[in-house]
Amino acid sequence: MDEWSSELGINSPWMNAAGFGGFLPQNDVSVSKPMGAFVTNPISAQPRSPARDRAVKPYAGGFLLHTGYPSAGLKRVLQEYAPKWRRLPLPVWVHLLAEEGRELQLMLRTLEGVENVEAIELGLPPGLDEKEQANLIASARGELPLFICLSLGDLRPTVLEKLPGLGASGLVISAPRGIMMKGRKAIHGRLYGPALHPQLLSALRDLRGYSLPVLAGCGIFSVEQGEAALDCGAAAVQVDGWCWKF
């Protein structure tokens, strides 16, 4: 275990990526490594319906997935799962989706009182400019460690250099967005798969020496790929589509 793992409060550098583990850890995932933390599905303040144009489109080396991150809303999620999270043997990291700061602050205050929630991951909505991103991140400052998810391919130095000052505890390199065509219709979504692995390693190498721990949150589809990411400087790895193999 390297210096970062103890700073992250985890006993193993392996965890699931948001959206791939549900709201409780599964017993039968294919990942043979012990999990250091459990990351919840993305949770919004209010109930959030699925995307109209949800899609799963495989391509060589990966797949595009678009679901819209449906969520029952924080209140209902906590009613159902907070008592179960309390009894888990590993810490829970709650992944939040928020459009604006006030809503985010209310969610954070609620979560600070939930036992065994040890960290917050923040997914940034698409289309925000750098100032809006900074405002949203700054409003997430609270008692819990805050990990900011930035897409592979969207790791702009101007954003990265601001994160420590905005109160972030770490950076998660999450799956990039992409487009595939269905006939003449463009399907938007996140890209997953081992084809991202070389780009992930390249990004990790570029981020060596960065002042915050960096988590590899995409492109991991084997133990070897996870270990390579750790060798390239990742403080931890998050497994996405590989979780669903059995």
Partner: protein, 232 residues
């Protein structure tokens, strides 16, 4: 949920679709319309696929659905299931209709057809496709006749994508009087099979959003709603 590791015995073409013939150590009780999740042991596939039962004979089973061109006799598969909620053929149904709107595979409906025939019901398939592997007892009508089902069937079992549901709902609308019970197997990717509630297979019902992998994949047509609440 128990996972079985099993090798493909043979590939069989049924109703213009390549199906997998497997010998299982134990055949679980599988209702028509329930599904199995499948992964290949060699990690060639990134995502689990979905297979439906086409036919059960002794301890062998014929599965249809998301098969892959590099799956050959001898290929090892991991199979998990049966999962989900299937069709509920009314025990007293005398006239049973089947359709896929010619947009999906017919084979997931074959267990419904076989069960209905065993019950002594008349079975009619609405299709314009040439099909060569149907039991002789199944009558075939042109798909254009689908609206007439309202007048004579007790039960309609359908397979449809979410995109084609409004068309099916329009055809099955009645202003008054009795209408058949219509159940639809939603033809949609079910990749996480409820393990993470990813939402890829979300279906809007009159009671809110449901997941085909968990709450379906078979739903009553009357319970399904148009997707007015979806975003993006």
């Amino acid at each position: 949920m128990k996972t079985q590791q099993v090798a493909i015995d043979s590939l069989v073409q049924v109703n213009n679709e390549i199906c997998l013939h497997l010998s299982l150590t134990s055949i679980p009780m599988v209702g028509p319309g329930q599904y199995f999740q499948v992964c290949d042991a060699e990690d060639d596939l990134l995502l689990p696929g979905v297979l439906h039962v086409c036919r059960v004979e002794g301890n062998s089973v014929l599965l249809c659905g998301e098969t892959h061109k590099y799956w050959l006799p001898g290929t090892e598969l991991h199979l998990r299931g049966p999962k989900g909620n299937g069709f509920h053929l009314p025990p007293l149904a005398k006239r049973v209709a089947l359709t896929t709107l010619d947009r999906s595979s017919l084979n997931p409906l074959m267990p419904v057809a076989n069960l209905a025939l065993q019950m002594g019901a008349e079975v009619t398939l609405l299709t314009n496709r040439p099909l060569t592997d149907l039991p002789a007892e199944i009558e075939v009508l042109a798909l254009d006749e689908l609206e007439t089902v309202k007048g004579w069937a007790d039960y309609l079992a359908a397979v449809s994508t979410c995109e084609n549901l409004p068309a099916l709902q329009r055809k099955m609308q009645v202003s008054s009087g009795n209408k058949p019970l219509v159940e639809v197997l939603i033809d949609t990717p079910m990749i996480c099979a409820e393990s993470s509630a990813c939402g890829a297979c979300a279906v809007q019902t009159r009671k809110g959003w449901r997941l085909a992998c968990k709450d379906g994949p078979v739903f009553k047509l009357d319970d399904l709603a148009l997707e007015e609440g979806a975003h993006g």
